[in-house]
Amino acid sequence: MTCIVCHPMNITKITIRGVTLWAIACFGVSARGQDDAIWLAPPMRAFGFGSGNLSRERSRSGSGEGGQTNEVARRRGTMALYAGKFLQVPGESDPSNSLWRVVQSGALSVWIRNPDGRIIDTDVKRERGMVSVNCLPAGVVSNGVNWVGMHLEGGVRDGAGGEKERVHYYATGIARSVSRGANGGSPFTTQTPLPVTGFGDAERVVLEIVPLFTNTSSSSGQFSQMAPMARLGQTALEESRLRVLFHGQPLAGARVEILSNSGWRTQTQADEDGVFTVIPPARKTDGRERRSAGQCLYLVQHREALPGNFQGEGYSSVLHCASLLLSVQNPQTLGMETRSAPAGYQWLAVTIVGGMVLVAMLALFHQLRRRRETMVTFDQRRMTETPE
């Protein structure tokens, strides 16, 4: 069975893939290459805005009173757990999807990591079509980047070779939250380096993909006005390095499947350090220069030959499935950095004032000249013989 993927960037390229696309899914392999996965992401539907790209939501929420409410609302429970086909526009998860049933029924633990390393439990709220994660539980410190980690118990099921296997699902993600300082300003500027950690707790999240880059995207200049938050994300057309960790150690040779909601997908393999690189493509825009080039979902699976018993069922191997969702943004094209507004205002003021002064002087000179001139009167002749 083939799955034809047409890359919207380049319609001449048609990729025909084989059927055993095990890398796509964390859950099982079926005759059809499926894109089923479980991942954490900021909720696409938040308080009635409908699905749409994140930049627009962010832009709407960036300014004004309405925006404020959305920001606050999103901070209150910003992450959501999705299960299903990633390549569809994510909104609500499909209740008929088998993975979703697992999510709804299985044991779920979610934690938040504070910037200083402390892990805090947090709770989830299951509602229709969405499982939302409370990213601001008591005890969370949000003056930086908070990682969220999830572990879902998948139970025991039939594996590929007919044997039973136990499945663990892990998902990590970044909870974007920033708290304004006492003076109301954002504590993050371009100069603040962001720590590279990932979720980092190998006990809770055994298999994890950790980003090794720290670029913050455009938190200065134009965009900071709208989204004054530090963002950890990838930049399209630039190399991003990530590492696969298993039990806290690099996992050499791990096969990673990368899906992007622009339709682009690829597979790669980690080297002996567990590191792999990826260059996300820029999203071909429909004319607008979008900030966001979409989202990238990294999926990795690792099978451990570790027999055991789970709730009365025996299994011979354990399958760990991990996912990481990162946003990608288009490379900075508009050149907004290193601007100095005061210098600009000075130049503008000088030219305007200078121009005005010049114009006023000319006008005054012109008017005075015009006011002085009168008609030449002919002098009457002194020797006249006028009849009366």
Partner: protein
């Protein structure tokens, strides 16, 4: 209801300005990136259409000619369809300048006209702008002369264009008014751009539509005026050479007034504001045609209807006096 053309034009300019500058608020409102008008890209996410000059420069700089042909086709199609009325009826920067002009009129300030000699000398500036727009990005292609200044000279005209500094202000975006110290070239370009902006803010207050005689977009659209569907035509026999069209023209075009042979008088500088037609006092002397069909014509009745719309008080009194005296004379006979 009879609409005056100038009112209609104000409405069109306002609507176009609102759509092009704030249309992005409406989901999926996108008119295209090949618009032949200064709908500035730097207004960012609230805009509903792009000025094509930015894209031309990017395309030239990246030597990425894939999408060039269809976009150019659309660009020229739009130009042919509406001709120079893109400048007079749609351009958001033109709207800004007309606002400044209205402000000048409210202050009861007169305006400046340049002599013919000065106009001739200033005509080369828009060709220089066009040159900067087309040639400098080509020189910034990898491997060419200016390629190390790629980042800073990637959109050279946009860094000089006053629309880039002014139209984002309507969206409360003030950081375009800044000098970029990223490199020497960017300092030069932004300083020049700010100086030009300041100059044009002053200029638009003392001269009508000051930027339009320097605008390369206007030049490009103006060069296509022979092919466009919207034209200005003149009946040279009905014209009395009164010069009113020259007085009211914001671009101070005298060729319309002086022409005695040809009937097509769409000038390169003309923004098709149709003020000449509106104020021409001779029937059928000037008319605007679309695809050859007249859509608006000068009329004597219209001219005097406007002049007489507020009759002077003394007139009414005189009517009584005259009728009284003439009836008196009848009796005397």
């Amino acid at each position: 209801m009879r609409w005056r053309v100038s009112t209609l034009r104000w409405v069109s300019l306002t609507v176009a300005f609102v759509i092009l500058t704030f249309g992005g608020w409406v989901h999926r409102c996108w008119l295209g990136q090949f618009l032949p008008t200064l709908s500035c890209k730097y207004v960012l996410w609230t805009r509903a259409g792009d000025c094509y000059l930015w894209h031309i420069q990017r395309v030239l700089q990246n030597a990425d000619f894939d999408e060039l042909l269809p976009e150019l086709m659309f660009f020229f199609l739009l130009i042919l369809l509406l001709g120079k009325s893109w400048c007079g009826w749609i351009c958001p920067f033109g709207f800004c300048m007309d606002l400044l002009d209205a402000f000048r009129r409210r202050l009861r300030m007169g305006y400046v006209t340049f002599s013919d000699a000065l106009n001739r000398q200033l005509a080369w500036i828009k060709w220089v702008m066009l040159f900067i727009m087309l040639v400098v990005p080509l020189l910034c292609i990898e491997g060419c002369v200016l390629s190390e200044y790629r980042r800073d000279l990637n959109v050279p005209f946009c860094q000089l264009c006053p629309a880039r500094y002014i139209t984002p202000l309507f969206n409360d975006m003030w950081n375009q008014l800044a000098v970029s110290f990223r490199s020497g070239a960017s300092v030069l370009m932004t300083v020049l751009g700010l100086a030009i902006t300041g100059l044009f803010l002053v200029g638009a207050l003392v001269k009508r539509r000051f930027w339009c005689q320097f605008c390369p977009m206007g030049l490009i659209v103006g060069l296509c005026r022979k092919l466009s569907l919207l034209k200005l035509k003149k009946d040279c026999d009905a014209c009395t050479r009164c010069g009113i069209c020259n007085t009211v023209c914001p671009m101070d075009i005298k060729e319309v007034h002086l022409e005695r042979k040809r009937s097509d008088v769409t000038h390169q500088d003309c923004i098709l504001c149709m003020r000449c037609i509106e104020y021409c006092p001779e029937d059928h002397a000037l008319r605007a045609t679309f695809c050859g069909k007249t859509i608006y014509e000068a009329s004597q009745k219209g001219f005097f209807a406007r002049e007489r719309s507020r009759p002077s008080d003394t007139l009414e009194k005189s009517v009584d006096a005259t009728t009284a005296s003439s009836s008196g004379n009848d009796h005397a006979k």
